[in-house]
Amino acid sequence: MRKQRGLSIISMLVFAFLIIPMIIIVVTSFGENPSIQFPIQGFTFDWYLNVFETNSLIQSFFLSIQISMIATILALLVGIPAAYALARYSVKGRDILKSFFLSPAMIPGVVIGYALFQFIVIQFQMPIFQGLLLGHFLISLPYIIRVVGSSLEQLDFSIEEVAWTLGCTRVRAFVKIVLPNIQAGIFASFMLAFINSFNNIPVSQFLSGPGVTALPTSLMNYIEYNYDPTVSALSVLLMVGTVILMYIIEKTLGLASIS
């Protein structure tokens, strides 16, 4: 590799720009001062304790896990068959159908959130939980369609046909032959969809009510009223979660599979 000083300087600055703000959060989470300060004075784990004692945050955390999990699984159940149909058959209007399935990713999140709020909560008076779940289902679906779709496009469907000739029904061949061979894509799309659903703000922001508030929304509310290192501490915990997920992905699929 030849020296490219200009390039490396820019790149190092960019990485500093990306990483330093995170480091500041980590450092401030240990400061004793009740308002966020950098550099910190003293050293304490109190703010971490405080995270676990703040009911609204803990409750939201579990709600978010629940919502993201159910929504992503629902998106897999609906998305895998659809992606399969789009990859396997030359259906009429295939491109349009595919765009339609991907469209929740093109429509601004606040618009989806607001539309669902109007439709589910105002018009049909359904519980907010269902609205939140549907919203997260919608934003998860395009990830499944795109990632599982691209694994399916790389699949040699003659293995499925061979299974038929050997006596498999369609459903059985799909379960025993197709699914095992798109496992990696399913796992990658699950991870992506789950992480994005868990982190989503715009949709959740409209669909929040008593006892039903997603974690990012809770966090946002918390920041608006109390500016203390509890937020830093929770952020650090979530970042640790992200690192763990990234480690799992790297060990199983390789990070390249989700970028």
């Binding site: 299974a163 038929w164 029904t169």
Partner: protein
């Protein structure tokens, strides 16, 4: 006695163009029949109709006097070998081969010996626990074959199974396939576009063109007596020229040269053809006789085992192969002799 019968099969993918046009084919029990033809002529489509992967728009498909046209693929019990082998990447060789047996709810005590037997027959006995990725091309081919055979299919279907192998292995594998097919006595349909491969392996050959079967005969018959110009061209006949009938087995060229043939046809206007190898070259000055046409060498090329000449004659350009011992140079005049039993009318 006909075992497999395709009757007036018509297939159209888009509802407009017919890919198979009222195709008929009858295969006898235990026979290995090849479908031979250029790429795109409908060989795979025919095979997929037989397998049940495509339902024909018209026509009937009968095996052993049972009409199977509407029977779904998974109930037909045919073994199929795909061009890409289509091995299940997530299963070992044994699991690949045992896949069909497991579906038939066979128990371990009958299943394992069957798997072991077929692995031995196909020379895979040592490789049972490997995954497809860990096999060579030839080994994958054998697994695909074993997997199709172990279910004791009524019919074995092979779609260009050798086209992904290198030349040497291809010859080896086709002998292998023939041996196994003979041994098990299994009725087989073999798709290929390679005529040598096809002739060496088949009991009978169906030459396909554009959705129909042009000729269905033994390899010898097709090689020696192609019935149509397409078949002749496809199996290596080169020189085509028009003849007019004068009498029984006697014809003249447009320039009045007399040609005798061993074939007898009723049409008055015909096309004759002959392979470059089958023409004899006589030096200029030989006494002119029937079945001789004079010409002049245009180009000479060296083929290794012989010379090939492009000869200008009054029936057009004729390709001739001549022995290495005597080399004619371009511009030289000579006589071409067409042996009557080698001159084919189409």
């Amino acid at each position: 006695m006909t075992y497999v019968d395709l009757k007036d099969i018509r297939v159209s993918y888009d509802g407009k163009n017919n890919i198979l046009k009222d195709l008929n084919l009858s295969i006898e029990k235990g026979e290995l029949v090849s479908l031979l033809g250029p790429s795109g002529c409908g060989k795979t489509t025919t095979l997929r109709v037989i397998a049940g992967l495509i339902e024909p728009n018209d026509g009937d498909f009968v095996v052993d006097n049972k009409n199977l046209t509407r029977v779904p693929v998974h109930k037909r019990n045919f073994g199929m070998v795909f061009q890409s082998y289509a091995l299940f990447p997530h299963l070992t060789v044994k699991e690949n081969v045992g896949f069909g047996l497991k579906l038939r709810k066979e128990d371990k005590t009958t299943m394992n010996p069957k798997i072991q037997d077929i692995l031995e027959v196909t020379g895979l006995a040592e490789l049972g626990d490997r995954y497809p990725k860990q096999l060579s091309g030839g080994q994958r081919q054998r697994v695909a074959l074993a997997r199709a055979l172990v279910i004791e299919p009524k019919l074995l279907l092979l779609d260009e199974p050798l086209s992904n192998l290198d030349a040497k292995l291809r010859v080896q594998m086709r002998i292998e396939i023939k041996r196994i097919q003979r041994k098990l006595g299994i009725t087989s349909v073999f798709v290929t576009h390679d005529q040598e491969e096809c002739f060496s392996i088949s009991d009978r050959v169906a030459v396909m063109n554009n959705g129909i079967i042009e000729q269905f005969d033994t390899p010898e018959e097709i090689y020696n007596r192609p019935k149509t110009e397409f078949v002749a061209r496809f199996i290596g006949f080169e020189n085509f020229f028009n003849l007019t009938k004068q009498g029984e087995k006697t014809y003249t060229t447009s320039e009045g040269h007399m040609l005798k043939t061993s074939q007898s046809w009723d049409d008055t206007k015909l096309v004759a053809t002959i392979r470059p190898d089958d023409i004899n070259i006589l030096p200029k000055g030989t006494e002119q006789d029937t079945n001789m046409i004079p010409g002049k060498v245009v180009v000479r090329t060296f083929l290794g085992k012989s010379y090939q000449y492009e000869v200008e004659t009054n029936v057009g350009k004729i390709l001739v192969n001549g022995p290495k011992e005597t080399a004619y140079s371009s511009g030289e005049e000579l006589l071409l002799q067409f042996p009557e039993e080698k001159l084919i009318l189409v």
